[in-house]
């Protein structure tokens, strides 16, 4: 397996394009994108558990069942949630794309991201869809334009691709995604579009997507707010011509592990680019009696505002880590917990058996000054571990969100 260039256009047969159509004020910024496979696809998707959800999410929930979508259309700037006609506008977006691509409405998956409660100017999409579709190309540039079109407060593009061999054939998976606030996924995350040329049935694709989502996007948090628009969707056109995957065999396991690697990378990038973030925090809980317990405790740590501000201040305040573990809702023995902080320049033990140890504060500060920090919590009760990702909480988080609408 290795990472390659090309994003969602890295797998065979996928084209992509992005452009500015006027949903956002800034003309320099793409705000609409399409990703398309002319070849038929298996498809699967996972959506927000927030009961307040966008028009596109409601529409996709119906269409995803057929498992034969082959196109994504998405805009940024306006979330198309909690506004008049949001269901109708999601349908119009879908219909416009279907007409331009000459496919059925039901084969188009729709997504929106941006401000909640504002009407989507869907006519701008309808007026420009032909132009956008004419720009579709199977190239790194096509994927790049699409990736740019879904960014909101993201400072960095999230675009990755991975390839590996399955039953003697090269299989590739590509993905683009956007963060970077209202990130506490309880299903997929804000928006993530995946493509693959793997030959795989819709039900196996769905299974792989759910397994991977649980250990990647469901393990990150920027601010504890689960969005109304979370969507993670995948199209698989089968052009890799590998043996058709229709059961949980070795090929399935290989495909799932590729998908997991790719989504881990995207999820980490999302956490690292959390609104205002200066540090990526990777938190691993070790030696738990179950993986689920380990992941709940780790998620509680990375979601704690007090832990997040301490990391911003490069302060080895492990008491806040232990405190956040304690209110995770999971049972463990506090007197058996060891805590370490680490980064690329070293590791320091700060707590042993639930009690602070004397440690070199200067070294601790140096470790925490690095952009990628790890918190290790060993609960010494079993053999399972789990990792979650988050980011620090900074002045910039406040300034970004103190006046987002204006």
């Amino acid at each position: 397996m290795n990472y390659i260039e090309g994003g969602v256009c890295a797998p065979k047969g996928f084209t992509a394009a992005g452009m500015h159509v006027g949903i956002r004020a800034n003309k320099e910024k793409n705000d609409l994108m399409v990703i398309f496979s002319m070849h038929p696809c298996s498809s699967a998707g996972i959506f927000t558990k927030n009961i307040v959800c966008s028009g596109p999410v409601k529409l996709n929930r119906k269409n995803i069942i057929a498992g034969n979508a082959c196109a994504f259309i998405a805009n940024s700037g306006i979330a198309n949630a909690c506004c008049p006609n949001c269901n109708e506008n999601a349908l119009r977006m879908q219909h416009a794309a279907a007409q331009a691509l000459k496919i059925e409405n039901e084969q188009v998956l729709v997504a929106s991201t941006g401000i909640i409660g504002v009407r989507l100017p869907v006519e701008k999409i309808e007026n420009n869809i032909s132009e956008l579709v004419s720009r579709l190309e199977n190239s790194a540039e096509g994927s790049n334009e699409a990736a740019l079109a879904i960014m909101t407060t993201d400072t960095r593009k999230k675009e990755f691709a991975i390839s590996g061999e399955i039953s003697g054939k090269t299989v590739t998976i590509g993905g683009i995604a956007k963060g970077s606030g209202m990130i506490h996924p309880n299903m997929g995350t804000m928006l993530c579009f995946l493509t693959t040329d793997c030959l795989i049935s819709a039900s196996m694709l769905d299974k792989a997507l759910r397994n991977v989502c649980d250990v990647t996007f469901n393990r990150i948090s920027v601010d504890g707010d689960t969005s109304t628009n979370d969507s993670m969707m995948i199209l698989a056109n089968g052009l890799a011509c590998n043996n058709f995957i229709t059961e949980e065999n070795d090929d399935f396991i290989l495909f799932e592990s590729m998908l997991r690697d790719l989504c881990t990378r995207i999820a980490r990038a999302m956490a690292a680019d959390g609104e205002g973030a200066k540090h990526l925090i990777t938190c691993t809980v070790l030696n738990s009696s179950s993986e689920q317990k380990a992941s709940h405790i780790a998620k509680s740590i990375i979601s704690s505002n007090l832990t997040k501000t301490a990391i911003f201040g490069c302060d080895a305040n492990w008491g806040r880590v232990l405190c956040a573990m304690g209110y995770s809702g999971e049972k463990f023995n506090p007197d058996a917990v060891d805590i370490y902080f680490r980064s690329d320049i070293g590791t320091i033990k700060v707590c042993e058996n639930g009690i602070g140890v004397n440690f070199d504060e200067t070294l601790a500060k140096e470790i925490l000054l690095r952009p990628e920090i790890e918190i290790l919590a060993n609960i010494n009760e079993g053999k399972y571990s789990a990792t979650c990702w988050g980011c620090d909480m900074t002045y910039d988080y406040i300034s970004i969100n103190g006046d987002y609408r204006t």
Copy 2:
């Protein structure tokens, strides 16, 4: 019922004192306090649900069962949690106070607040306890010194008293408390000490305390972090000579409503003085099918970082409010929700039937510029409502917590 001066010394027979004994570096700041009733008391207490908890919390859990405590001792500066000898040091603190007050160890309830994981210099308490006890007085000044001694990042003292008539006698309840970070109580809150001269059995006192805690301290959040030291305790010495309250009769209801009023005032003060707060946010969910559901939804709103930063920016971003309602875990119909923002200068409807309405942005800004903001969410499904209190999230929250230990 009316509010009076005197704090914990307002009820008959209670003395209090506070002084600096050297636990904190700043010599101007009291760091140890005692509250005492020479007359026997009924007592009750509620403590953090965090499974990582301080030495004092563990000790009080044992002693509270007898229901005959008559003294509080508490220090600020160090939490006496997750450090070597924290259980032993809580015992030593209790013993020192008992000796100086000439009562049994088990009659002293102990509390600490401050940094987690640092050893408590208990000998400073032992060396100064006689001096502190000699300063005990039944006066507003005694309560004031005690209230000052438990403050940490609080900018304002929390000290209130209420009096009313029960079975023809004047009954008074006094309280002091401290916030102002790691506030997301799941039981009592950080520290709250209550005194009353009401004649009431320990079991009825416990019942009133639990009922009141559920609708006051368990309904505030500053930062979503439940502390290791949360404690809410009450002593009742019976000097009001009202009819002995031993069952849920009218007198009990009267006492509970007094306690509720007082604790609501303390809880509001705690939320308003949340770390870095510029706005007190009162959130009421109206017309729910149950009170519990209403309180869960309201708590989800006031705990949302995105709602909190929007209020800091005086931005009427109701989409974040609806979004936070949606991930509260409670079921309701999003298409039936109306949302209003209000303050002392007016009320504005921003969302109707789950959809944004056109509103006067200038008026909205003016409303949100006021120090006390109300968010009303009507879910139009029943007859129950609930109120929670929180605060906005500001640059100061980050600066206070970015480097708390140093």
